[in-house]
Structures are given as structure tokens and as C-alpha cells.
């Protein structure tokens, strides 16, 4: 039961999906549309998994009273507070919008913003142009950056054009090769799943 049931479900649903899309038969399409709608509900119901998981991890930390359990308490309070305010007052309410705009948004922007400092530091300390490849990478990055800034325009009117060209032509070519490879790889993973030989995708 543990092993054959999930695989069987995957195979049945995938078969209906492929048959529906490739044949376009109305009864199959009807089932498929219902299946797609169910995904929205399943995804919605599953969304609280992350919260329950956090509650578990940090709950244990609080119970054990280890170092930093104060942060865990704060995390749990914030999480439950958000849920209670959001559900009882709706996300359009003034209080929720206040929390979203003045607490959540600045925090999440700031955490990404400080990455620019780490980029600056990495460029100085780590970015050694030892090989021709690294040189190509730097030149490409330079042209793309200058091409999209007023600095590049003021050095020469051709720089934005060259930057655009690097982005449009060689980058498209390389990205397309990568994209084709990745799409084929994705199909391979899926086939291994429906053949029941991909390990571990049911463990995550």
C-alpha cells in the first residue's frame, strides 16, 4: 500500500493528463479541468504546512529553553499574530496592510538589499580573473551593466547598443542551449517519477 498506491495514483493522473491534452476528448478534458481546480484547493490547504513545521521546530526550541529560545518565542508570536489578524480582519484591513507595508516589506527588501554589500566585497576579494573564461564573464557583465546605466551612455552612445547586443544575441544563444538542456532534464526526472524509479521524491 505504501509503495504501490502513490505510484498508481501518479500513473493514472499523468495518463489522464497526457491523454486529455493530446486527444482533446471532452470527457477527458472535463476530468482534467476538475483535477486542475483541485490543485488550487490542495495547494491552498497545504500552504499551512510551512507554518506548522516552523511551529514544531521553534516549539521544541522554546520547550528546551536553549540559547536563542527568545527568538523562537517571537517568531511564533509574530506568525500566529499574523494569521489571527489576517483571518479575523481580512488582508485588506488597515491593520494588516500596516503590518505588511511597514514591517514585512522593509524587512524582506532590506535582507536582499544588504546582498549588494556582499557582492561588492566578493568582487574585491574573490573575483580573480585567472582564466580566459573569467575574463569573458567580466567583459559580458561589464557591458550588460554599462549598457543599462546612464554612465555607459555618457561614455559613448555605442555602449548601450553593445550592451543590448550582448544581452540579445550571445546571451540568448547560451541561455537557449541551457534552456533546452534543462527542459530535457526536467522531462527525464518526470519520466523517472512515473516509472517509479526516481528515489526520494516522496520523502521531501
Amino acid at each position: 500500500m505504501e509503495n504501490w498506491l502513490p505510484i498508481t495514483i501518479t500513473i493514472i493522473i499523468a495518463t489522464i493528463g497526457f491523454a486529455g491534452v493530446f486527444s482533446g476528448l471532452p470527457p477527458l478534458m472535463g476530468i482534467l479541468r476538475l483535477g486542475m481546480f483541485w490543485m488550487i484547493i490542495i495547494g491552498g490547504v497545504a500552504a499551512a504546512l510551512g507554518a506548522v513545521n516552523l511551529l514544531q521546530i521553534h516549539g521544541i526550541k522554546v520547550v528546551r529553553r536553549g540559547s536563542g529560545s527568545i527568538y523562537s518565542i517571537i517568531l511564533i508570536i509574530v506568525m500566529l499574530g499574523t494569521i489571527i489578524i489576517g483571518i479575523s480582519m481580512s488582508p485588506q484591513s488597515l491593520l494588516y496592510r500596516f503590518l505588511f507595508e511597514f514591517i514585512f516589506t522593509p524587512l524582506s527588501t532590506a535582507i536582499f538589499a544588504i546582498l549588494s554589500f556582499f557582492i561588492a566585497s566578493a568582487c574585491f576579494r574573490a573575483f580573480r580573473i585567472r582564466t580566459a573564461e573569467a575574463l569573458v564573464l567580466v567583459i559580458s557583465a561589464t557591458l550588460v551593466m554599462l549598457g543599462k546605466s546612464t554612465l555607459g551612455e555618457s561614455i559613448s552612445p555605442y555602449i548601450p547598443k553593445i550592451g543590448e547586443w550582448v544581452m540579445n544575441i550571445p546571451n540568448s544563444a547560451g541561455s537557449r542551449g541551457i534552456l533546452l538542456g534543462a527542459s530535457l532534464g526536467g522531462i527525464a526526472v518526470f519520466l523517472r517519477v512515473i516509472l517509479g524509479i526516481e528515489r526520494g521524491h516522496f520523502l521531501g
Binding site: 479541468r33 483535477g35 486542475m36 481546480f37 490543485m39 488550487i40 484547493i41 490542495i42 495547494g43 491552498g44 497545504a46 500552504a47 481580512s90 488582508p91 485588506q92 496592510r97 505588511f100 514585512f104 516589506t105 524582506s108 527588501t109 535582507i111 536582499f112 538589499a113 549588494s116 554589500f117 557582492i119 561588492a120 566585497s121 568582487c123 574585491f124 576579494r125 574573490a126 573575483f127 580573480r128 580573473i129 567580466v138 561589464t142 550588460v144 551593466m145 554599462l146 543599462k148 546605466s149 546612464t150 554612465l151 555607459g152 551612455e153 548601450p160 543590448e164 544581452m167 540579445n168 544575441i169 546571451n171 540568448s172 541561455s175 537557449r176 534552456l179
Partner: protein, 274 residues
Amino acid sequence: MKTHHVIFIAFGIIVIVAMFIPSSGKEASDKTMAVYNAIEKLPSGSTILLGADFEAANRAEMVPQMEALVRHIMRRHLKIISISMWDQGPMFAERILRKIGDEEGLTYGIDYVNLGYAAGAQSMVRLLKDDIKAVYKTDFSGNKTDDMPVLKDIVGAGDVSLMVDLSDSPSGPTTYLEQIQSFKKDFRLVCGLTAASVPPIMPYVESGQIEGYIIGLKGASEYEGLIGKKGLGTISLSAQSVGQAMILILILIGNLAFLWIRKIKGKENAELGK
């Protein structure tokens, strides 16, 4: 105080100082013009599908773009149906649509609607292609979509005149292409993207699947120039330039220092970065 602290402080100060340098927008690039023209040339009364597929973390790039695009669309009195594949986007869509909608004198539910978020990503979009109301039983505020005037003429997302996708990752436009355009070849897509997600979607632009894109704050500033409304995009231009120049200078100095150290201390120590 270590080397990286010195770099952090120097970098921070230079970017802050650069923000005081006044900046003005330059002419728009071809791709930005393509987005502008796509919206400009739509016949009046057309409906636009607006994707708010970004997270709060990337609001710096996405919100100026969204404001400029929504203002342009609303000035032309085109209808907007806003959707989102991720949970944080609708919060911004709601605020911006309502604000600019009020300024332009449009009515919610008749001229524009924010349908909000639905889980399911790819399958959600595939279902949306044929039937919007099959996905969204209600809008983001909980109003029933059944008798909403803005949704009267549009059955599926594939029927809209144009989609404008504001996305902070390549997966946004890719999903709409794979799930809608693959089955409806006349589905037109233009995007507003964070700078970081432009290179990976370039193959789709080169092939013509995506008609045009706005790139990051620079693109937002160009668009602000086109519609004549200054915002963060334009204000940020000089700081953006100086910051990028600083990054390039740091790469250069780092490498020169590396060569210099290697010269005086011998190769071994330099490899270890000492």
C-alpha cells in the same frame, strides 16, 4: 574592523552620496518601446491581463514599473484583470490599482479588478486559459466574480488582447508562455521584469514569443519618461550608475592587488589570499 568592513562602508557612503546627484531619464530602449507601443496600439475597450507575480522583497523594482504601466493602461481606459501566481503580489496590485484607478476616475469591478492569488502555478494558469471564473470564484476582496461587468466579455485568459506580466523571476513569463501561448498562438505577452530575471528569458524574447520587456529600475525610469510621470526609477539612475561603476572598480582593484601581492610575496601566499 576588517577589509570587508572597509569595503562595506566605502560602498555604502558612495551610493548614498550618488543619490544626491540629480538624474534625468534618457530615451527608451527598443524593448521598452515595444511594451509601450503594444499598450498604446490596442483598440479602446480592450482587456489586459495583468500578472502581479512578485514578492515583497523585490518591490523596489516592481512597484515603480507597476505604477507606470498601470497608469498608462488606465489613461488609455483599457480594462485590467489582475491575477497572481504568488501570495504577496496581490497586496501590491490591490493598493496600486485602487490608487491609480481613483486618480483616473475608474470604477472597481467595471474597469478593473484584482482577482488575487490562486495556488497551483502551472495547472492554475492552464485552467485560467479557458475559464477565468473556473479558477477565481471570488476576487481578492471576496466579491463574487459571476456578475462582474469587467469579466463579462472575457471567458478565458487566452482571450485577452494582451498580457502584461510583472514578474521577479523567469518562471512568471515562462509559465504563461508554456501554459497559454503553447495552445493559443495569438496570445500576446509583454513583461516588466527585475533586472536579474531578464537574461534567462532572453531566448523567448529572441524567438518573438515575448514582444518586449521593461528591465528593472532603468526600464521603469524609461517608462516613466514615456508617460511623463517621474518616480523612483528616474531618481535612482545616478546612484545605480555609480554603484555599478563601483562594483567594476572593485573587481579591477582586487585583481591589481592580487597581481601585486603575488609579485612581492610569491605565488603560494597569493593563492591563499593572505
